[in-house]
């Protein structure tokens, strides 16, 4: 017996080099046509799937990021008689380049359906002004104030004042705490590749939980998340911040319009 290590054997790609790449390309082509994606929505907007022309005549619509669904439904609970909510995929957070055209497609569909008033519940969300350009082109539709959800949940002014203090903070809203495992752990493959925890979060020092509710179970979950990411934990109760202000204003404006 020798101590020499056996030559390392490796697995070769089944169908030769780049087979995996082909597989991934095929999957991406599939995704591009799956429901809920930008292209599919754009198609849907002009297709028979859209409601009959004018079916929603006189009603108001909030087009929102899926991450805000629960909170917006709460905020409009008294106004469901005239406001509808339509959510777009929360996963677009990770591919913000899809947001502007996805939102445009839904706006056009809403116009077809006869909605009288539309509000877009997105921040800039990393579109670098592209979403604002679309909203301008579609007739000056309003959106939530500020760059992203962490800012408008905190209150944009307040958030911007503390940019420097918070430069090394990683924020989680209640939504993100609730879906931490699927969105962050699985989304960034931190479970199968724990070395990525350091690559992704090595620059942060604190996980700041921007809480909407007083919910001890959620608080515990947020603390666990902080431990998992090797970050200190801080809880800030912010409620719904500017999201509430904006949605309530829209609800008020639209109900007075409805009475006219």
């Amino acid at each position: 017996m020798t101590n020499e290590p056996a030559p390392r054997k490796r697995r070769r790609r089944h169908a030769g080099p780049s087979a995996l790449r082909e597989q991934r390309r095929a999957a991406a082509r599939h995704r591009a046509h799956a429901p809920g994606t930008g292209k599919a929505l754009a198609k849907q907007a002009g297709s028979s799937k859209a409601l009959e022309k004018g079916a929603k005549s006189g009603r108001s619509l909030i087009i929102a990021c899926g991450a805000l669904a629960r909170d917006i439904l709460f905020l409009i609970r008294q106004h469901r008689d005239h406001i509808d909510l339509h959510c777009l995929p929360a996963e677009w957070h990770n591919t913000p380049q899809r947001i502007p055209e996805g939102v445009r497609a839904r706006i056009r569909q809403a116009k077809e359906e006869g909605y009288a008033r539309i509000f877009v519940a997105y921040g800039d969300c990393g579109t670098g002004g592209a979403l604002d350009a679309v909203l301008g082109e579609e007739g000056g539709i309003s959106r939530l104030p500020g760059p992203h959800c962490y800012a408008f949940y905190t209150g944009v002014e307040n958030f911007m004042r503390h940019l420097e203090r918070d430069a090394r903070s990683y924020f989680l809203t209640d939504y993100l705490v609730r879906h931490f495992d699927s969105l962050i752990v699985k989304g960034l493959k931190l479970d199968t590749h724990p070395e990525l925890i350091e690559t992704c979060f090595g620059n942060y020092d604190t996980l700041v939980h921007l809480a909407q509710d007083d919910d001890p179970a959620l608080e515990r979950k947020a603390q666990e998340a902080a431990r998992f990411l090797n970050l200190a934990y801080e809880r800030r109760y912010v409620g719904h911040g500017d999201l509430a202000t904006a949605i309530e204003r829209f609800a008020g404006e639209t109900s007075s319009k409805a009475e006219e």
């Binding site: 390392r8 054997k9 080099p17 670098g128 760059p147 430069a167």
Partner: protein, 235 residues
């Protein structure tokens, strides 16, 4: 023989072209150990570190970048590939210095103040290094003073700034103005990048160019170096 064994592969059995292709595939799949092993075999076969970097690693990472741009790969896959490339670069870097491989130019790069996104910036840094630039990576949350100090100290040809947040993009302009105040603006080519930026923004803040990804950054930097070289030659 089981199927698994049939699929096994000894990298040493591959000829050079096959091995380069295999390294690129392994890079794509984020297989760090395999990439490093492939690089070591190429070194044993007498390949120059510089050639390994450009042909196997940069070539492979270009494919990763393209598929990320096309929405085929996502952030974690890109990260695994980048980590694999980083491990291979760590093997090659000391050898590059030893062999005195010619460097094309120098770059200082950092993510601007308030922003600690660094995945894309690090990939740009690595690809620029792979393309033959000396790269001084200032890291994250870099303020104007730190950029200025680094420009004075390293006299780079290229200054690269990265921002991923709408709230930190404007700071790039602050840095460019600070460079001008110090009389350093004309000494460096300023490249900016990061997902929410675009060419119009780059122009508006007075950068020399906006680059949408690392491959474009390398191309643009090389083109500027060529122009600079020509100007010097004709002067």
């Amino acid at each position: 023989m089981s199927d698994a064994e049939e699929d096994d592969l000894d990298l040493r059995e591959l000829d050079d072209d096959e091995l380069v292709e295999q390294i690129q595939d392994d890079l794509y799949d984020g297989l760090k150990d395999e990439v490093v092993e492939g690089v070591e075999i190429l070194l044993e076969r007498g390949w120059k570190p510089y050639d390994i970097m450009t042909k196997a690693l940069v070539g492979g990472m270009d494919i990763v970048g393209k598929d990320f741009g096309d929405g085929i790969l996502f952030v974690p896959e890109v990260l695994l590939s980048a980590n694999a490339m980083k491990a291979a670069m760590d093997v090659l870097r000391p050898l590059l210095a030893e062999t005195g491989a010619e460097r094309i130019g120098t770059m200082v790069i950092g993510t601007v103040k308030g922003d600690i996104h660094d995945i894309g910036k690090n990939i740009v840094a690595m690809m620029m290094e792979g393309a033959g630039f000396d790269v001084i990576n200032l890291g994250i949350n870099v303020d104007a003073d730190q950029f200025i100090t680094a420009v004075k100290e390293h006299k780079p040809d290229i200054l690269g700034m990265s921002a991923l947040l709408t709230t930190t993009m404007p700071y790039m302009k602050t840095v460019i103005e600070a460079l001008a105040e110090e009389g350093l603006r004309d000494d460096v080519v300023v490249l900016v990048g990061g997902a929410p930026l675009n060419a119009d923004f780059g122009k508006a803040i007075g950068a020399d160019a906006y680059c949408k990804d690392a491959a474009e950054a390398v191309q643009t930097a090389k083109a500027f170096m060529q122009r600079r070289h020509n100007r010097r030659a004709s002067a």
